[in-house]
């Protein structure tokens, strides 16, 4: 167990565990947290997991951990680590099972007041158009060849097939299409799991949410994103479904042997890895890229289905029901990026597990309207609480490999949440607060209660104080569709 005295405070919201803490650490670990948030994480294994992740071969600079950190497996949730090309490692456990679990926000020009009479019907239509639940199937059936197209092209496949607009694709991280995706790197089981599930929400903490914009903090940023106070936005949170889970399972198992072949010693078998330039590392990277593309395409299909729901409910009742994309960001991913390390430009593989890319102004991969502002960063709060829209900064490039927090972060176990919170009571409370709710299981609903999470406002304040993102807008929910 790690004690608070093991940390060195390097700023009001930054803490470090130096390499002297444990002999097998290759780099220090730096945490973004207020004193209160840091203390809240000492109760579980998240800090130990962060220290474990600092033992991977080929790490550069430091491992960084976001203020929404909590216990995961292998890496903690909220962990970011960069390994040097070509021989640094890639670790499936540093990316996670739900590869490219991520969030997308779509804005409307509809004021909340105008939508109010239709929110219930719209929530029901979204629930009907966007399939959710364990093992649930999507609305389209893909042939093997079509699935390969999805895996290779991601959002660009959706654009080619009429499920996306060019603006949707331009306003998605990496245009929703990672290069280097090779469908032959996937097992038949991964494809079997993925083929029927494209465009479905899944279960767990995945959701679709209608929100109203409460406050704007950055007028120029909000204008570029099409966000106006009082208007309604839509958020979609989901990932690569069974396909991504299978890719990670396959490669965590396959790489158990690779660590022995490459003489890599690890404190946790979930951290298994292979050099990026090894056949095993290259193959996992190609498979992970396929799963990431699948997730981008899946969120795009859900967007298409959400637009159908909007049209069904609002046509003839609201003058403009257009949903335009603000941005789509990945939470669990490994990316080859260029970063300044010790004054030198280096190509590294950035592992983000429960963290959002937050690139600052000037990044050429951003669409023109965002390029001078920085990348939009979406930080959903826990169910029924506020969410935030932010912008990446130059400082995030210096401090956190261009990364930021991804949500509120759990603080209470699922079993404790189920014991202490009644799903039906929570359901009634949210309804009484004016939030329309669709949920499949009351115990599952209770697990996602706001009390089980940290205060997202406190998380956002830390990243703001640290300078790794700046506030643009705050939204509050008016309808929640739970997976």
């Amino acid at each position: 167990m790690v004690d608070k005295q093991d940390f060195t405070r390097i700023s009001p919201v930054q803490w470090e565990i130096p390499t002297s803490f444990r002999q097998d650490m290759r780099v220090p670990v730096r945490f973004f947290a207020s004193e209160q948030l840091l203390e809240a994480t000492l109760g579980d294994k998240s800090v130990t997991q962060a220290v474990n992740s600092a033992t991977l071969p080929g790490l550069v600079s430091h491992v960084t951990v976001m203020p929404d950190m909590h216990q995961g497996y292998g890496f903690p949730i909220g962990g970011v680590a960069a390994t040097e090309l070509p021989s640094g490692v890639i670790s499936p456990g540093g990316i996670g099972y739900d590869i490219n679990c991520g969030v997308r926000m779509l804005a409307t020009n509809i004021p909340h007041e105008e939508l109010k009479p239709h929110v219930g019907a719209l929530a029901s239509a979204l629930n009907a158009h966007c399939p959710s639940g364990v093992g649930v199937k999507g609305k389209i059936r893909l042939s093997a060849k079509q699935l390969d197209g999805v895996l290779r092209l991601g959002s660009k496949w959706a654009l080619k097939n009429g499920y996306a607009t060019p603006e949707d694709v331009a306003r998605t991280e990496d245009n929703g299409s990672l290069p280097g995706a090779d469908p032959s790197a996937l097992s038949p089981r991964a494809k079997d799991r993925g083929r029927p599930q494209l465009g479905s929400l899944g279960a767990g903490n995945h959701f679709i949410e209608l929100d109203v914009i409460e406050e704007i903090y950055h007028a120029e940023g909000a204008k570029a994103m099409g966000l106006e106070a009082g208007n309604v936005v839509l958020q979609i949170h989901c990932g690569s479904r069974g396909l991504g889970h299978q890719v990670c399972s396959d490669y965590v198992r396959e790489l158990q042997g690779a660590v022995q072949r490459y003489g890599i010693r690890l404190p946790d078998r979930e951290l298994v890895c292979a050099p990026l330039d090894s056949p095993e590392g290259e193959r996992y990277f190609a498979a992970m890229s396929c799963a990431a593309n699948y997730a981008f395409a899946s969120r795009q299909l859900l967007t298409h289905q959400a637009r159908q729901a909007f049209e069904q409910v609002l046509a003839g009742k609201v003058s403009n029901w257009d949903l335009h994309q603000v941005y789509d960001v990945a939470h669990n991913i490994g990316k080859i990026e260029e970063h300044q390390i010790d004054g030198k430009s280096k190509r590294v593989c950035v592992h983000r597990k429960g963290a959002t890319r937050a690139f600052g102004p000037g990044f050429e991969g951003l669409p023109a309207e965002y390029r001078d502002l920085g990348q939009p960063v979406l930080i959903p709060g826990s169910m029924g609480t506020r969410s935030w829209v932010m912008l990446g900064t130059e400082k995030s490039m210096q401090l956190s490999f261009g990364s930021c927090a991804h949500g509120a972060g759990r603080v209470m176990s699922r079993s404790k949440a189920k014991r202490s919170i009644r799903g039906d009571k929570l359901f009634q409370k949210m309804q009484a607060e004016g939030i329309k709710v669709h949920a499949r299981s009351m115990p599952g609903f209770a697990e996602e209660a706001p009390q089980a999470y940290k205060d997202v406002d406190a998380v956002v304040q830390v990243v703001t104080d640290a300078g790794i993102a700046q506030k643009v807008a705050r939204v509050r929910p008016i309808a929640v569709i739970k997976g």
Partner: protein, 136 residues
Amino acid sequence: MGEMPYEEIEHTADLSMRVRGKDMAQLLKHAAEGMLHLSDVHTKSSEGSKVSVELQAPDREQLLVVWLEELLFGIETRSVAYRDFEIRMVEDTRCEASMREIELESIGKHIKAVTFHDLRIIVTQEGLEATIVFDV
């Protein structure tokens, strides 16, 4: 064995289960039963056809993971649950399992994957014990 064959352990974000068995075959059986219990599966009837599978892995921990993943794959892709497990160890890390496959009515908890996080099968006075973390 006086203790429960499996029990849920606190985990902040995912699911964790401690499982025990007098030997490897029983550990695999109890792990399957425990995982299905944590998944909160309900079946349409108690009737179902008998299915069998043979699995092999480089070590015992990997065999445990492969076995549970085999069941998760069936649950997700064929909408079935399993019961009446009979497991025979052919070798130390190779098993033959047969069980009844029954049509699923509902499932309360989606287990995405079986992780290797801190996974070790340890020898106790009463047999074997392992703590498994599931990604949910």
